[in-house]
């Protein structure tokens, strides 16, 4: 296991630092500019009517015409650039093995070593979870520093941040394990990345359509965003245990299935 973790560290250290720094930069900028931008959002809602359902879809609640301080804080956590950075990292990381290894032919070398496929799966999972925590940690530090130094309105409470992070991490786990499942079924990394991207896109669209199209409402339950609600956490101050449980259940099922498929499948690079 130690050797596998060393390999994962050598392969992923720079991307993790870049994604972390990117997330920190994005969250700092958003912390800085969101209060100003969202202060004038009523005008934007009037001139571009599509923006409101889009923001409602992301937040999970109707932001009204005036964004409160709480809504502004919540919007930071559902901003598409934040989610895309995190998902981008997940898509890249979780399709590395086995799809990426098969694709570039290095799986022959890796599986020539005395490691069980389950061990490989567990090592990849440890690396993925650790990288997620590091990236989020770096990203949040950017937000906290800017909020505390410059933007009083965006100063988060520790309990709210902890609960949002629990919800965000459970979504991270659900999305990552879906990517692992797709990867375990695939021999081509690009194809696996494309499938996961399509799943996330459909997930986002379902959530968006459900805001103004009744028939899409029941389908919105299939979207991961349906179970990620920072606005509700900030408003109500309670941990969304049901949402977290659903996301973690999806994550567990996908993770075990991915491991079983990897364990049982024939792997061929030629």
């Amino acid at each position: 296991m130690k050797g596998l973790l060393l390999k994962i560290f050598l392969e992923t250290r720079w991307p993790v630092i870049f994604f972390g720094a990117g997330l920190a930069a994005i969250m700092s900028i958003l912390t800085w500019v969101l209060p100003t931008i969202l202060g004038d959002i009523a005008d934007v809602f009037q001139s571009i009517p599509l923006i409101k359902p889009l923001i409602s879809a992301l937040l999970g609640v109707d932001p009204d015409s005036q964004f409160s301080a709480q809504m502004t804080q919540a919007f930071l956590w559902v901003h598409p650039t934040v989610l895309c950075t995190l998902w981008g990292h997940e898509i890249m990381y979780c399709t590395r093995s086995p799809a990426g290894e098969i694709d570039r032919g290095t799986i022959d070398f890796l599986l020539g070593l005395p490691v069980s496929r389950w061990k490989l799966h567990i090592a990849e999972t440890i690396g993925w979870l650790a990288s997620g925590i590091i990236i989020l940690g770096i990203g949040i530090s950017g937000h906290v520093i800017v909020a505390q130094q410059f933007v009083e309105k965006m100063q988060p409470s520790l309990s709210a941040i902890s609960m949002i992070l629990c919800n965000l991490m459970s979504m991270y786990i659900a999305v990552g394990t879906i990517a692992m499942l797709v990867s375990s079924l695939s021999d081509r990394r690009n194809r696996a990345m494309g499938v996961v991207f399509a799943i996330l896109l459909v997930s986002f669209l379902l959530n968006f359509l459900a805001q103004f199209w009744k028939p899409a409402e029941p389908w919105a339950r299939l979207s991961v965003l349906e179970y990620y609600r920072p606005a509700e956490i900030i408003q109500e101050g309670t941990l969304p245990t049901t949402n977290i449980a659903i996301l973690l259940t999806v994550g567990t099922i996908c993770w075990i299935t991915a491991g079983l498929i990897l364990r049982r499948r024939s792997i061929c690079t030629v």
């Binding site: 130690k2 050797g3 596998l4 060393l6 390999k7 050598l10 392969e11 570039r104 032919g105 290095t106 799986i107 022959d108 070398f109 599986l111 020539g112 070593l113 005395p114 490691v115 069980s116 049982r264 024939s266 792997i267 061929c268 690079t269 030629v270």
Partner: protein, 299 residues
Amino acid sequence: MPVIETHNLTKSYGARRGISDIELSVNRGEIFGFLGPNGAGKSTTIRVLLGFLRASEGSAQILGHDCWSDSTAVRQQVGYVSGDVRLYPWLTLNRGLQFTGQVRGMDLRSHGLELAERFRLEPDLPVRKMSRGNRQKVALVLALAHKPQLVVLDEPTSGLDPLMQDALMDCLRDMAKEGRSAFFSSHTLSEVETLCKRVAIIRDGQIVSCEQLETLRRQAPRVVHLTFESPDAAAAVEWPNFIRLQSQDGSRCELHMDGAATDLVDWAATQTLTDIDVSPPNLEAVFRQFYGDQWGADR
């Protein structure tokens, strides 16, 4: 106990040809050649042996462990180099020895660096800056560094220069002397001929022959060149049944001979010959016969 033992080993890919009813037995201390043209099923057999592919039927064991259900234990005692070596671009030999050493739970540095010296390899050069031959050498060093009981090499000399091919052959001979084994796939007869005592020949996914090389040599025809006094004499000759005319160029004839040279000497004494040239047994002719039409296409 044989090092490798397969019974009725079959892997089918649906419409695509796989391997069928492979029966192999490789003994301890043996360098075993696995010959066949491209696409004959050599790599598929190796992949099943290493537990990359699940056999559709039959069984395969290495050192007493089942190749699929106990493949981790198999690979603990086996070194493997794939046919088309692909390594991580960031890998250097030193990092590779550290990484594979940790996976195998042993320190590979000292023997690995000895091998690196033998193969003239820079330990700190990353794979992304290496030529194909050097990448092949890194893979070989990493496969041999833990002194495996069995090394499985899938066409290992492709990309190696002749000197390094010799170094590899020496390594394998040293292994065999220590009672360790090598399973060596190739489509090049000459390298198998210099190294192996026993070979299996695979064609269209099936073993068509598994013999001692010496036995095959005895089956192999010798090439005989006879030069007659005149083209007319060559044209008029009646050939005995132990030689077969292959071609005639004026007074010079090329023939294939089965059996001992004494018969030829007795018969030649009755002919009007000016020269006789008898070559060693032509193993290539035997392999051509097994390979059939594919041989010509692959060369």
